[in-house]
Each structure stands twice: as C-alpha cells, then as structure tokens.
C-alpha cells in the first residue's frame, strides 16, 4: 500500500519537475519563465520529498523532509521576487505581446486629479473675489 503511494507521489513530482524544465525552455520571457520554474519546480520537489518520507516512515527522515519542504516553500518566493525586481529595474526587454495595463491606473488618477482641481479651484476663485472685494473697499 505504502509502496504504491510512494510511487504515485514520486512520479507526480517528476512530472511537475519535467513541466517546470519544459516551461523554462519554451516560454518567451524572463517573467513568464519564472512562473514555470518557481511554482512547478517547488511543487515537484515537495511531492518527491514527501514520497521519500512516506517510504522511510521514521521520525528522523520525516523531520528532515519537513525541514526541506518548509525551507523551499519559504525561500522560493523570496528568490523569485528578487530576480523579478532586479530584471524589472534593469529594464530587461519583455515579450512583444506583453500588455502593460497602465491605462486603468491613469484613468482613475486623472479622474481623481480632476476632482481635486475642481475643489482647488474654488478657494482660488474665492481668493480672487476676496481681492476684488479688497480693491473695492480700498476704492
């Protein structure tokens, strides 16, 4: 029973590892390749280490396996974030079909700035009218 569980876990993990490598080779862009390598690779290794711990079935091996899995799941997002930040800040060329969705942000910002301008115009007009009042009072 445990042998078949170990076999299924290991083969599933190997499949995820192969998919991660294939995605790293075939996808068009650094940031898109990172999707394949980080997530699928980490999941594949986690499944394989889990299968190994099921096979040995001792507390020492289970401790080591949990250490490896927790460490990988903690460090893979940190490393991927660091690589992506470095690539983005250095201005690495993206895929030509990548869409940068700045339009929605710009639209909401322009609406906000328009409403701010309409609010800011009121004190200015009041100031002008106030200076007019001052001038009339001087006269």
């Amino acid at each position: 029973m445990s042998e078949s569980i170990v076999s299924i876990l290991i083969m599933l993990g190997g499949g995820f590892a192969a998919v991660a490598g294939l995605g790293l080779l075939r996808l068009p862009d650094v940031l898109i390749r990172m999707h394949a390598s980080t997530k699928a690779g980490t999941l594949g290794v986690g499944l394989i280490v889990l299968g190994v711990s099921v096979h040995f079935a001792s507390s020492l091996v289970l401790t080591k396996a949990i250490l490896i899995i927790v460490f990988l799941f903690l460090t893979a997002p940190v490393g991927a974030h660091l690589i992506a930040r470095a690539a983005y800040r250095r201005g690495i060329k993206l895929w030509e079909r990548t869409l940068m969705d700045d339009g929605a942000m710009k639209h909401s910002f322009s609406e906000a700035s328009n409403s701010e301008n309409s609010i800011a115009e009121k004190p200015a007009s009041e100031k002008i009218s106030g200076s007019d009042l001052d001038q009339t009072s001087d006269k």
Binding site: E3, S4, V6, S7, I8, I10, M11, G13, G14, G15, A17, A18, V19, A20, G21, L22, L24, L25, V30, R33, M34, S37, T38, G41, T42, G44, V45, I48, V49, G51, V52, H55, F56, S58, L60, V61, K64, A65, L67, I68, F71, L72, T75, A76, V78, G79, A80, L82, I83, R85, A86, A87, R89, R90, G91, I92, K93
Partner: protein, 114 residues
C-alpha cells in the same frame, strides 16, 4: 500495485529531463536574468535528484545533502540577483554588449584625438 524501482526510474528520468532543459536555458539565455532563473531551477531539481537517490540507494543520509543544497542554492540566487540589480554596467544581452563595446571604442577614439 506499482513497482517502486520502476517509479523511481521514471521520476529520475523526468527530473533529469528538467535538469537538461534548465542547463540548455542557462547556456542559451539571452539575458543574465534568464540564467539566474535557470540556476534557481537547477538547484531545486538537484534537491529532487538527491531525494530520489536516497530512495534508490535506501540511505536517508542523501536527504541531508538535499537540505544543504537548498540552503546554498538560495544564497546563490539572492547573491546573483542583487549583483544583477546593483551592477548597472553589466550588459543585458548581446546587442547591449555590442553597443557598450562600440561606446568604449568611441570613447577611446575621442580620448586619443584629444
């Protein structure tokens, strides 16, 4: 019931396929960021290979090798990523490298002229 030896061989083959594609991307990668991503994947897959070796050779000491490899691989990834981010002189691909070399040549030429 699946034979365990067969499953370990299949998993080792699939993992080594992933390692091979990662190495191809590391040699081919047009930008340094591609090579860093490939290095990250290769270290993670080497942890998988050492775990599978623990299963095949029936020796749980190979899991320690995997743990140490995961630690060192994370440090390597962080170090290379920070190096890529801080070193603004590093060329980003082949066209960038050629442009920088041309700039260096023209700088040398103007310096000689002066």
């Amino acid at each position: 019931m699946i034979n365990l030896e067969f499953a370990v061989n299949i998993a080792l083959g699939l993992t080594i396929f992933g390692l091979t594609t990662g190495c191809i991307r590391m040699f081919k990668g047009p930008t340094p960021a591609d090579r860093i991503v490939a290095l990250d994947l290769v270290t993670v897959l080497l942890v998988a290979v050492s775990s599978l070796l623990a299963l095949q050779l029936d020796n749980s000491a190979y899991l320690d090798l995997g743990l140490a490899l995961a630690l060192v691989g994370f440090l390597a990834t962080v170090g290379f990523a920070r190096y890529l981010e801080k070193n603004t002189q590093m060329p980003l691909d082949d066209a960038d490298l050629a442009r920088k070399q041309d700039d260096g040549k023209s700088d040398n030429a103007t310096r000689e002229r002066l």
